[in-house]
Symmetry: C2
Subunit: 196 residues, 2 copies
């Protein structure tokens, strides 16, 4: 369900949180299960040696010339450092999604805060699948691909033997996101600045 | 060892050959073990539903604005369809690397043909690690990152329990590439056209 010409998502967190895997799974789901074009990019600079991780997915109904995100429609921040580093890249009407287990200080009320890491541990037994819990939430919040199509793309990509754990985390993340009413959030990430 | 301002690699093949994983492992190795910037991109269009797979790695000593490949320095083609589809994107002085197990018709003599799939089966026991055999060859041929740094990045990324299999395939691919003398190849991929 893509109503704009270009929808930009950045997944961010620390190395080891499965940020890139989440982005690839989403990109493959959108590419194979919808009629949209998708570009999925990792860009590494000197900061790659600092352990932070980011991955972008750009989705469009028409061919994508410039595959890097310019202004984010959605930022997933799985740790405080990435929330701090990338919040400024959100569009005014963009949405911030944070792992409430690891992000304490949130710079906007236009935020969906879900404890992905705790959910992964309690619902799927391993914190390593927090990325799939986050993916479940992102898919529910954006409706960019159907939950069922997403789950089948996910199962095709994750290592054999881990399907059930990943699927459990994915579904738990989607369930948690359902408790949020986006229309109840402020319309922009920085309402104060809008009024200037 | 990067002597140009921008070095572009495309890995291509069919879905299930681990094309994206190979590109991510290379990108992470270059990002964490060298001082270069790296962008790694998958772009999917309607062809994603046809089962072909491609992934690009762009490497530069300076920040990369445009992360998609424009003219390839190296094309890895792991099947005939991707060789046919992407050969035209090579620079004149670019290098074609093919999986000789699966690519019969090669459009240039500036080609390193190595049976990656057969090597993966005979040396590591599984054809699924043909991607790592190809990566070993690419690293040896480009020397864009040291073989040792590459292997350590590889071991950090592949699923637990598969490290030895992946490392074996990687080393076997590098060994096979050592038998090729790049200086003995024609200097361009299309010498005939050069003479026009």
């Amino acid at each position: 369900m893509l109503t704009t010409d270009r929808y930009e998502i950045r997944f961010s967190g620390s190395g080891g949180q499965g940020i890139i895997t989440a982005a690839i799974v989403l990109a493959e789901a959108v590419a194979t299960k919808t009629k949209n074009y998708v570009s999925q990019t990792q860009s590494y600079g000197p900061e790659a040696r600092g352990g932070t991780s980011k991955a972008e997915v750009v989705i469009s109904p028409s061919p994508i010339d410039y595959p890097k995100a310019i202004q984010l429609d959605l930022l997933l921040a799985m740790n405080q450092a990435s929330c701090d580093a990338y919040f400024a890249d959100l569009k005014p009407e963009g949405l911030l999604v944070t792992d409430a287990s690891l992000v304490d200080q949130v710079p906007t009320d236009r935020n969906v805060a879900i404890p992905f890491t705790e959910i992964a541990i309690s619902q799927a037994g391993k914190k390593v699948v927090a990325n799939m819990a986050a993916l479940g939430a992102v898919v529910h919040l954006t409706q960019i691909v159907s939950p069922k199509a997403m789950e089948s793309a996910l199962l095709a990509r994750v290592p054999k033997g881990t399907e059930e754990m990943n699927a459990k985390a994915y579904r738990a993340g989607a369930r948690a996101a359902k408790k949020f009413d986006l229309s109840a959030l402020p319309p922009t990430v920085t309402p104060e600045e809008e009024e200037l």
